[in-house]
């Protein structure tokens, strides 16, 4: 893809249509928010049915086979990151109760296959998911890959009631499922996932089958297995099925291929998907909502995620009813823990969220003796103050400090989008400083477009290029301003993947690299490279596929691809690109890392609310300043 460079004053055309779409397009293609999902009740019936009928024959026969791969799974692929989980547990106070709760709704389903699995592995909630996948597919265990598993399911579903209704174009009827493209199936699954979320938030049973029963769905001919709908209720399930299938036949080499796990990153959590099925039942809806939005990248960015988390927790605290024989401040932490662990299951915790939650816990622990209502008011106030002091006001101070560093005639380069950087650039423009901005962006998220849109709307002269053109545009740049996900104690900058390239190429040309970061994002962690800790995004985002929206307008396929077949529905398949069937290709793995690490020597200055500091001073701020702030 050749970098598109557009100059000053106008928004690139490919951006123009995404500009209008962020709200609209998301909801049309896939159901993204629990609310909207719930509104399509008829649809829900159809898909549930569809889904469950597909699985039934397989799961019935596969029950005995499935118990074995489960144990393989425990010690195998997943065990590599289990230790990390436990550290998370320690950090966020994740308690074993969570796994119990997680398991319970499914255990109650009363199916033999179910019982067997659930009974023997009640505690391994992680394993559970994949185990259920196996149940659904072990009938096709001898065949390999998700492709074949679906095709074996095809005949069964053919007997089911054909899907109908408004979703028809998006969601083909059951017989055609065999011929669905990967992406279409994925979309279907996404939809089901969202519907599950809706069911949960609507107080229906999490499993599709039970929900169907509740809704009096006519699916008499089949006894749908809830495990199947669970397994397919999130996009990763397919891969997991395939893995499990391979495992059950003992084909470990095949398994390696199918996990699509990249050796160097095997220790990281695989990409996560919104899956309320795994969530405990008694979560506060606000937290569930926030978690889903984060999982779908609808809430994205360290600040936004932190604010969303805190606001959800505030609502949870406000609505919290103290159980008998305890006090609010003593019990609230136990109450919040499953919420926190739920957020972790949605998407790995951001450093900002972790710090905010740690602060909240610190405040709770400090005020154990307060009467309930006082404590509630205090915690709500503390949350509000945290958002105000550490985020909102901090951003304002950073903006005012940053303005000192922007002069007339500057050409400022920035990468992707940071809310602080956007605020700073807009403030500089509002102040009347004459400067130009080069927005560098990259696949797969194209977050820079959002910034570009805001800047162009404000009338800031902008240029939009992709990361590949960085060497070319760096020549005219005289300042680089970047946002941060976190600043680590060794001064390293942990930020959106691609930041390191930008910082290094700026350093190469002795262009000052300015990082805007609030002090609450400082981390005590030390990291020397991007491998030890990172987040793996959904690899399917890398696939050039129009249908692969993932609820985010910016994840659309590259404009050049889209431009080639614009408006032509038939050529959509051509636009899908070579990666479409990547999961079937044995030797192809995709890696979508979300973050990277920029060593401290490539960062000139960090603008924080406590002033301009070199990034090596992070530990000093953590040591000297933060205890002061907490008082």
């Amino acid at each position: 893809m050749d970098p598109k460079k557009k100059t000053v004053g106008f928004v690139p055309d490919h951006d123009a249509d995404t500009t209008t779409s962020p709200g609209g397009s998301n909801n049309t293609s896939t159901v993204n928010s629990p609310v909207s999902a719930f509104s399509n009740t008829p649809d829900l019936n159809n898909t549930t049915n569809n889904n469950s009928t597909t699985s039934t024959p397989n799961s019935a026969g596969s029950a005995p086979a499935s118990s074995q791969p489960r144990s393989i799974n425990t010690s195998g692929a997943r065990s590599s990151y289990e230790p990390m989980k436990s550290s998370y547990e320690e950090q966020w106070g994740l308690t074993p109760t969570r796994t119990q709760k997680t398991a319970s709704p499914r255990d109650g389903s009363g199916f033999p296959a179910k019982e067997q699995g659930a009974g023997s592995h009640k505690k391994e909630n992680k394993v559970k998911t994949s185990g259920l996948g196996i149940q659904a597919n072990a009938g096709s265990a001898s065949t390999d890959g998700p492709q074949s598993s679906t095709s074996s399911a095809g005949p069964a579903s053919a007997g089911g009631p054909p899907s109908s209704g408004k979703g028809g174009s998006q969601k083909p009827s059951a017989p055609s499922q065999k011929s669905m493209t990967k992406a279409e199936r994925r979309e279907l699954q996404e939809k089901q996932k969202a519907e599950k979320a809706a069911r949960v938030s609507a107080g229906l049973p999490a499993s599709g089958k039970k929900a169907a029963q509740v809704l009096n769905q006519p699916n008499s001919g089949f006894s749908p297995n809830p495990s199947k709908s669970l397994a397919t209720s999130f996009p990763g399930a397919e891969a997991e099925k395939a893995i499990a299938a391979a495992e059950s036949t003992g084909q470990t080499r095949r398994r390696e291929k199918l996990t699509k796990e990249i050796g160097l990153f095997a220790h990281l959590d695989p990409p996560k998907f919104a899956n309320t099925a795994l969530a405990p039942k008694d979560l506060h809806p606000a937290v569930v909502h926030a978690g889903l939005q984060m999982a779908q990248f609808k809430i994205c960015g360290a600040n936004a995620r932190c604010v969303a988390t805190l606001n959800a927790f505030r609502k949870a605290i406000q609505d919290y009813q103290t159980p008998p024989n305890t006090t609010l401040s003593r019990h609230i932490q136990t109450y919040l823990n499953p919420h926190i662990s739920y957020l972790v299951t949605c998407r790995p915790m951001a450093v900002s969220m972790g710090n905010a939650i740690r602060y909240l816990k610190y405040e709770i622990g400090k005020n154990l003796e307060l009467p309930d209502e006082d404590a509630r008011a205090l915690f709500v106030e503390k949350i509000d103050n945290f958002i105000r002091d550490r985020i909102t006001m901090a951003d304002q101070v950073i903006t005012s400090l940053g303005l000192q560093k922007i002069q007339d005639g500057d050409v400022i380069l920035t990468y992707a989008r940071s809310s602080v950087v956007q605020g700073l650039l807009l403030a500089a423009h509002a102040k009347g400083i004459k400067f130009k901005v080069i927005v560098v962006d990259s696949r797969p998220r194209f977050e820079g477009k959002q910034l570009l849109r805001a800047l162009a709307a404000a009338g800031v002269p902008c240029t939009y290029v992709l990361l590949t053109a960085i060497g070319h545009v760096m020549r005219e740049v005289n300042k680089v301003i970047l946002g941060a996900h976190s600043l680590l104690s060794n001064g390293a900058l942990y930020s959106r993947a691609g930041t390191a390239v930008v910082a290094m190429s700026a350093h190469e040309r002795k262009i000052p690299v300015i990082v805007c970061c609030e002090t609450y994002k400082f981390s005590e962690r030390v990291q020397l490279d991007s491998f030890v800790q990172n987040e793996i995004g959904n690899p399917d985002e890398l696939v050039n596929d129009q249908n692969n929206n993932f609820g985010h307008s910016s994840t659309r396929c590259h404009p050049s691809v889209r431009g080639a077949n614009s408006g032509d529905a038939a050529s959509a398949a051509a636009g899908a690109g070579v990666l479409t069937g990547w999961r079937e290709s044995r030797d192809l793995k995709l890696l979508n890392l979300l973050y990277d690490l920029t060593p401290s020597e490539f960062v000139t200055v960090v603008i924080t609310e406590v002033g301009l500091i070199p990034c090596t001073s992070v530990p000093v701020i953590l040591r000297e300043f933060l205890p002061m702030m907490q008082q």
Binding site: K510, T604, V605, G611, I613, P614, S617, V620
Partner: protein, 339 residues
């Protein structure tokens, strides 16, 4: 208020009377004098008068970096102590006492630095220094007193000719000293074991603001893998974070601006073709510059920068009265001081 007391005149006379006094200390001393003369009766009036005075001081000199370091430090000192004011007059008195003790301590700073720095000077070494710095001279004198045998190259440092002053001081202390041209730094660097410079100010990232020429010296030293040490008293730590040379408070639009070629312009155009005045090619500029009148030479001198900024990655260590610090250590100290 300060109507009856001219803080700037006091500052200038202090510097004139005692050449050993450095600018920030003189600034603090004159601010202490101001407090003595202050007739302010309320806290806010008092703070205002100090703020006004420090602004006056800063604007009174062309290169205010080290001076503002002193002023800021004193202001910080005043504001930090203003929380626990019980009785205004008594507080004022303590401020005066503390200010004076600060000035005395500042004097001792240099001796402490000299003590810390002497071990770095090895017998038989050759040292390159830049222009004139009291604290560097003192350090070298102390080293000589400790019977270290070493030789010194000192850059002449045109404009101020501080190098000549340094050479005089060092020769008097029995140190073999050679004055070199500013342009000869690269020539001598291979013969040099270490580079020592003073500082006008030490900025927040551990970088250095010093007499022009320090930066190129640091670059040359780095290229030749020679240690580059800065010597600075802690009262020269200043809350600035320059991104590059052009981000200093001393930088303005006039700095190194290209001369208007209007003077001999008519006579030159036939040689250089059609030359637009400001966007002239450099060849035309230099040709014209040769024919410039003395008055314009003066003008171009005026637009030359007096100080430059040396980024921290060129600095090996800083010798300060707080100890021998790495550049990032400076920012730690500054954060502790100002937060």
């Amino acid at each position: 208020m300060s109507k009856d007391f001219d803080v700037v005149a006091n500052y200038k006379s202090l510097l004139l009377n005692s050449p050993e006094l450095s600018m920030p200390v003189a600034a603090i001393q004159s601010l202490v004098e101001l407090i003595k003369h202050s007739s302010a009766t309320t806290m806010s009036e008092f703070m205002l008068s100090i703020n006004v005075a420090s602004q006056l001081l800063k604007s009174s000199v062309r290169n205010s970096i080290s001076l503002s370091a002193g002023c800021d430090l004193f202001l910080r000192f005043v504001t930090r102590n203003s929380q626990d004011v019980a009785e205004f007059e008594a507080w004022k008195a303590t401020l005066i006492v503390r200010g004076q003790s600060f000035v005395e301590k500042a004097d001792a700073c240099r001796y402490k630095i000299a003590e810390l720095g002497v071990p770095f000077i090895k017998d038989g070494s050759t040292i390159l220094i830049h222009a004139h710095s009291r604290v560097v001279s003192l350090l070298l004198q102390k080293a000589a007193e400790n019977h270290k045998r070493f030789k010194v190259f000192v850059t002449e440092s045109s404009q101020t000719h501080g190098g000549i002053r340094s050479a005089k001081v060092l020769r008097a202390a029995g140190i073999p000293t050679t004055i070199i041209l500013d342009a000869a730094v690269g020539y001598v660097i291979d013969k040099v074991d270490m580079v020592l410079v003073g500082a006008e100010g030490v900025v927040e990232n551990g970088g250095l603001i010093n007499q022009i020429g320090s930066y190129q010296m640091a670059i040359v030293a780095k290229a030749a893998n020679k240690p580059f040490y800065a010597v600075a008293e802690s009262y020269k730590f200043v809350r600035l974070f320059p991104l590059n040379q052009y981000d200093l408070p001393t930088y303005n639009a006039d700095t190194l601006s290209f001369q208007e070629l209007n003077v001999d312009y008519d006579s030159k155009t036939d040689e250089t073709g059609s030359v637009s005045s400001s966007a002239a090619p450099s060849s035309a500029l230099s040709q014209t510059a040769l024919h410039m009148k003395t008055s314009e030479d003066q003008a171009s001198q005026g637009s030359n920068p007096l100080v430059d900024y040396t980024p921290p990655n060129y600095i090996t260590l800083l010798f300060t009265d707080l100890g021998v610090l790495t550049p990032s250590g400076v920012s730690d100290e500054l954060i502790k001081l100002y937060l």
